[in-house]
Symmetry: C3
Subunit: 132 residues, 3 copies
């Protein structure tokens, strides 16, 4: 089990962690199996999306913020209910196949840590399971 | 494979099933691996979110209901299309690492069964895979 | 690892791939374990939902399109940011238990490939892991 550190510098931010995950898989020595990426936070999530044009990440965050603004008729006193909602919508984990010690991602796919209540110093757990 | 029963008493409800999942993992005898939690329903989901302030769960349900009300221009005659949509947004499964026979959850994380068309008697499947 | 082909004929479409996934599991020879279904695209996703009434799929797509229309104040020049957002909301993978060489799905559940920027020829990766 590898614990990566992700440092965010804005309230909402999508950070490409693909190379960090790839390195953790290589260091695990697992040649074939499943890479499990887990976010142990409740105001951040993780997703797989396009890694070519940064505007895609901008547009995802723009739309989430437009439809789920920070201010609403929320009861939670910390003022970050929107971040909790966005975290559940994106999800707490992604899984990617490992073949030949590499990640089986599509041509345009990257793995993105999704910060919704930053800036903060975050953790990302990566576990490579040897399977098959 | 353990099949847990979750009894809901409202139409929309988030129920903390963390201790039930933890117990299933302990009873499985798996010391290290992956806990797979699966909802075999189409109008309920499962997510991981904050377990400290119940207002977080209230706010998640409030926002889902505000944006995805039961009544809309739906064709499905059962009147629960909103519940099907919410189920897919939350997802049908979550995965959590197992270490030392315990769940590797973040400090504020709990596992929540998400009822969107209750009250009902629901099932939650938990499988602990011994890995690594 | 099996790579299935999914051919879509509309921009937005939910295609039932349950029988294809089931066949891939049978052909894998895995009697007990986990079926991992992965979409290697960034404008398509995958979800589990009702397989009885096609209106449920219609209603899911209707609501996603109503709330996330193709046109908005997006920066991504390809004009498909809505598809990228929908892909992350549905997710890039689903997992289903395998028992007795069959999928452990609920009574009304099917696995749906979610096209959000078709029509296209798409890929769906299925890997059956022998476990437990």
């Amino acid at each position: 089990m590898t614990e990566l550190t992700v440092t965010t510098d804005r309230r909402e931010q999508m950070i490409d962690v693909t190379s960090q995950v790839r390195q953790a898989v290589v260091e695990s020595g697992v040649g074939s199996g499943l890479a499990f990426c887990y976010v142990p936070h409740t105001t951040a999530g993780i997703t797989i999306n396009e890694n070519a044009d940064p505007d895609v990440q901008r547009d995802i965050l723009y739309k989430l913020n437009k439809d789920i603004p920070q201010r609403d008729d929320y009861h939670h006193a910390e003022g970050n209910s929107d971040a909790h909602i966005k975290a559940s919508l994106m999800g707490s984990s992604v899984q990617v196949l490992i073949e030949n010690s590499g990640l089986v991602l599509g041509r345009w796919q990257g793995i993105y840590f999704c910060e919704f209540d930053g800036p903060r110093r975050r953790r990302l757990i990566v576990k490579a399971f040897p399977l098959g």
